[in-house]
């Protein structure tokens, strides 16, 4: 069935089953491939987007539950609060290695700074715990969040 969506400030209509995860609508139907598939179970955070400003795992978010919401993806991170600062910090500190998880890391970090503009290490642990990086960039992620929040 058809769903109307608001993504990165634009309106879209897609015709898929209501239980289709938002992730696949973004990637396969709408061609926004910046949001990544990692686990399909909400265990790794690679697919993190903002749904009404809240960091959300799009791989376990049925499209029907997001239809009335404002969705923001990595492609529009620079338009949200702290987004550009985070991207700059990520570049300055050379955070990414393979980079595949970094869209999700950045979206989670932006959601963190929105709620907690000056996060402690514990705040960072709590907000970023769900985002897995197999390349092991965690210490640079931590430093970059602090830099962006400074």
């Amino acid at each position: 069935m058809a769903f109307s969506l608001q993504i990165n400030g634009r309106a879209y209509t897609v015709d898929v089953d209501g239980d289709t995860p938002l992730l696949w609508v973004l990637r396969d139907v709408l061609g926004m491939t910046g949001t990544k598939f990692g686990c399909g179970q909400g265990l790794c955070g690679a697919c993190t987007v903002h749904v009404d400003g809240v960091a959300t795992r799009s791989c376990v978010t049925p499209i029907e539950s997001a239809a009335e919401s404002q969705v923001t993806t990595i492609e529009a991170l620079h338009t949200v609060a702290h987004g550009k600062a985070l991207q700059d910090a990520w570049v300055e500190l050379e955070v990414p290695q393979c980079g595949y998880c970094q869209s999700g890391q950045l979206m989670s970090a932006a959601a963190l700074l929105k709620e907690t503009p000056r996060p402690t290490d514990d705040d960072i642990d709590n907000a970023m715990w769900g985002n897995v990086c197999r390349c092991g960039t965690y210490q640079r992620i931590r430093a970059a969040i602090k830099r962006a929040s400074a």
């Binding site: 898929v16 139907v29 491939t33 686990c39 399909g40 790794c44 897995v132 092991g136």
Partner: protein, 719 residues
């Protein structure tokens, strides 16, 4: 551009390109059209460099980028000698062509073994120097002066006085007409004149990794791409027995159900529908001959086989006599589990099989094997295989294997148009080519002073080389199986190292980050620690005694110990462990600090690395590889284990094959020893060295020696 407009010849140039835009922004685009059509007018002195009339420098990357920073490092090698700024270059993936891009050490076109810098250090600098010499010659001709009086700088050739300058773009036509200089006439820059090499250059692939623009293989969507979710037989060698195709096809968006010899794929408009269709297909499997396989049996078999002598990898002195005459004898068994790579980008491959060609969009470490695999499945000539390689979302060795490509091509053979075959995380973890299970027997003897007099190491486990390159085997010894074991850095008067090839039933094995050393360095550095403990010696002092003839190893050990404040007392249940390694052409020492909680939980709080990898290319990348490599190894030490029951892998996703998370990640420090030695590899070094540093720290904290991985907190409870 529609796909039908893509003649195979042109598609070959259809690489992903990452170009640096004004302000350092990385623009990712497809190099169709202008780049190729203009190629005839470009100055292309070799396969790695192309300069067009506007002066745009394109560098072709022979090795694949998977996070290790090789695109930037190899671009630095070229740009250093070519005398261009890194900001001004554009990067392309190399196409499949072993004659142009074959790995100088490995022969084939592949990326692995931490060899990229070692192998390409000279060839890429030579390539840059060749182009520079031709551009200088072209300018000298223009000015009618001696080329020796001219110099190249930042994309220009300058005359002797520096008053006249010609941009590279202005020189391409003349330069392209000149004969290539003989290699022996080229003068490479000496290290004191490096302006890029040895500096922490910004990575060229970073900007596209922070805004979602960079395309991995999984992001390739050639026109008309359908998505296939795949289920591979859960037991190796099994095949589909029954498939409910009607139910699958009834799912909205599902187009087709495809059966191959050992897998079922459901093809749909999007992954959501494909996965739903796959579930609806309710597949039943004929498990085949491996239905009873269990890791318990595999380990029991290894234990039995390990009692037999292995093929001799190294034998010096009389170990048997030395052991018998030792003041103290120590025996130990070490076991390392099967490991999955679990890269963040799950296995995927997009394939379009046409009548006369097969085109792939994938990220692979092994272009040579990828091409062969696609040719074998399709029956097409290898030159009809077109591969669009991509930056890889984590390799760790998994993308050296091309099973994912074979599976995808088998599916695509039955699909009209391009199809992207995506593995679920569960498929990815349960259908790995795993790091082998190793069962190692150690015997050591020390004299009255505690010095080693005998060292016996018998490795038992699967041989990867025996499967993929039998000629590499040497009298039954797999050189990878004993790498890091055959030549420990220490002075050992009598040493015997054996390799016992024991293949596990129903399990595929392959390279895992750190390869041979990631198994052997754990065993060797744990056991030297055991000898130190038996000798009642401090682990650092003991190693120093045995490294008196190995100054580079000694230097990194001393540096790591100093930076980690070795010897500074720690509270109860906290410990400090050390490991020294020579592997991948680099010397590395790691000191790890660990806290073991009362319930046995291990927390690694700090990792200090000291590395001598010879001349450095990008020190920040070296630090990044120390940080990431250490965490990759630490994850395996604490959590990594793939086990089998009833022929099936028991782990499935990140809830039971645990990744290290940010709250558990220790700070990793990197200290680089400045040397003028030839460069060594760095992508895997910390992974292998961190294993024993951590378990030695646990020993220091608890007095309990971890000989079987992963760490079992039950064994470390406070009693």
């Amino acid at each position: 551009m529609s796909k039908s407009a893509l003649a195979p010849q042109l598609s070959r140039r259809h690489f992903l390109k990452a170009s640096v835009a004004v302000g350092g922004g990385l623009v990712v685009n497809l190099a169709l059209g202008s780049g190729f059509s203009a190629a005839a007018a470009d100055f292309a002195p070799n396969a790695f460099i192309r300069i067009d009339r506007k002066g745009l420098v394109t560098l072709v990357m022979p090795q694949v980028e998977m996070g290790q920073g090789i695109y930037t490092a190899q671009a630095m090698l070229l740009a250093e000698e070519l005398e261009v700024a890194l900001d001004d270059v554009k990067l392309e993936h190399a196409p499949v062509d072993e004659s142009l891009y074959g790995h100088p050490m490995l022969g084939r076109q592949m990326t692995g073994g931490s060899t990229s810098i070692r192998a390409f250090w000279s060839p890429l600098r030579m390539a840059g120097a060749t182009a520079r010499a031709l551009l200088i010659q072209a300018a000298a001709q223009e000015w009618n002066v001696d080329p020796a009086s001219c110099r190249a700088e930042d994309g220009f050739v300058l005359d002797e006085s520096g008053t006249r300058a010609l941009a590279y773009g202005e020189l391409v036509d003349v330069a392209a007409s000149l004969p290539a200089p003989a290699p022996e006439t080229l003068i490479l820059k000496s290290p004191e004149n490096f302006r890029l090499l040895g500096t922490p250059a910004k990575r060229l692939d970073t900007p596209g990794k922070v805004n979602g623009a960079l395309k991995y293989g999984i992001d390739a969507f050639p026109d008309g791409t359908k998505i296939a979710a795949i289920a591979i037989s859960p037991v190796l060698g099994g095949k589909p027995k029954s498939v409910n195709e009607q139910s699958a096809l009834a799912v909205n968006g599902v187009r087709q159900v495809v059966l191959t010899d050992d897998a079922v794929a459901v093809v749909a408009d999007h992954t959501g529908a494909a996965k739903k269709g796959l579930e609806a297909a309710s597949i039943e499997w004929d498990d085949g001959p491996n239905a009873q396989v269990s890791s318990t049996d595999i380990v029991r078999h290894l234990e039995q086989e390990s009692q037999n002598p292995g093929a001799i990898a190294r034998s010096e002195g009389d170990v048997t006599t030395a052991l018998a005459g030792a003041a103290q004898r120590i025996d130990a068994v070490y076991q390392l589990p099967f490991l999955s790579h679990a890269a963040m980008e799950p296995m995927n491959c997009t394939v379009h099989v046409r009548e006369d060609a097969c085109e792939l969009w994938v990220g692979t470490q092994n272009l040579s094997a990828a091409k062969l695999a696609a040719a074998t499945v399709t029956g097409l000539e290898p030159e009809k295989i077109i591969i669009n390689n991509h930056i890889v979302g984590g390799g760790f060795g998994r993308r050296l294997e091309v099973d994912g490509i074979s599976h995808a091509v088998k599916v695509a053979m039955q699909v009209d148009g391009p199809v992207k075959v995506i593995w679920s995380r569960e498929e990815d973890i349960q259908h790995g080519y795993y790091r082998p299970y190793y069962y190692d027997r150690m015997s050591g003897g020390i004299d009255e002073e505690g010095n080693p007099v005998a060292w016996m190491h018998r490795v038992s486990g699967s041989s990867i080389f025996a499967r993929i390159a039998p000629p590499v085997m040497q009298n039954g010894v797999d050189p990878d199986g004993v790498e890091g074991a055959a030549h420990p850095p220490y002075k050992l008067p009598a040493i015997q190292v054996e390799f016992n090839q024991v293949e596990p039933q129903g399990v595929l094995t392959s390279w895992w980050r750190g390869v041979g050393p990631s198994h052997n360095v754990f065993v060797v550095e744990s056991f030297i620690d055991e000898l130190a403990a038996a000798a009642k010696a401090d682990p650092v002092d003991y190693r120093k005694r045995l490294l008196s003839e190995n100054p580079r190893a000694l230097r990194v050990l001393e540096l790591a110990a100093e930076k980690a404040e070795w010897g500074k007392p720690l509270p109860a249940r906290q410990g400090r462990g050390v490991a020294v390694q020579f592997a991948f052409g680099s010397y590395l020492a790691i000191v790890a600090d660990a806290t073991v909680e009362a319930d046995g939980a291990v927390r690694v709080t700090r990792i200090v690395t000291a590395v001598d990898c010879g001349l450095t290319v990008n020190p920040d990348t070296i630090a990044a590889q120390m940080e990431g490599g250490a965490l990759y190894g630490l994850t395996a030490v604490l959590y990594g284990a793939i086990t089998l029951k009833d022929g099936r892998v028991e782990q499935s996703n990140f809830d039971n094959y645990l990744p290290l998370r940010i709250d558990e990640a220790p700070h990793v420090e990197t200290h680089i020893v400045p040397t003028a030695e030839p460069p060594g590899g760095i992508g895997e070094a910390a992974t292998s060295a961190v294993f024993p540093a951590v378990t030695n720290a646990i020993f220091s904290a608890t007095g309990k020696r971890v000989r079987t991985l992963p760490v079992n907190p039950e064994d470390l409870r406070e009693t």
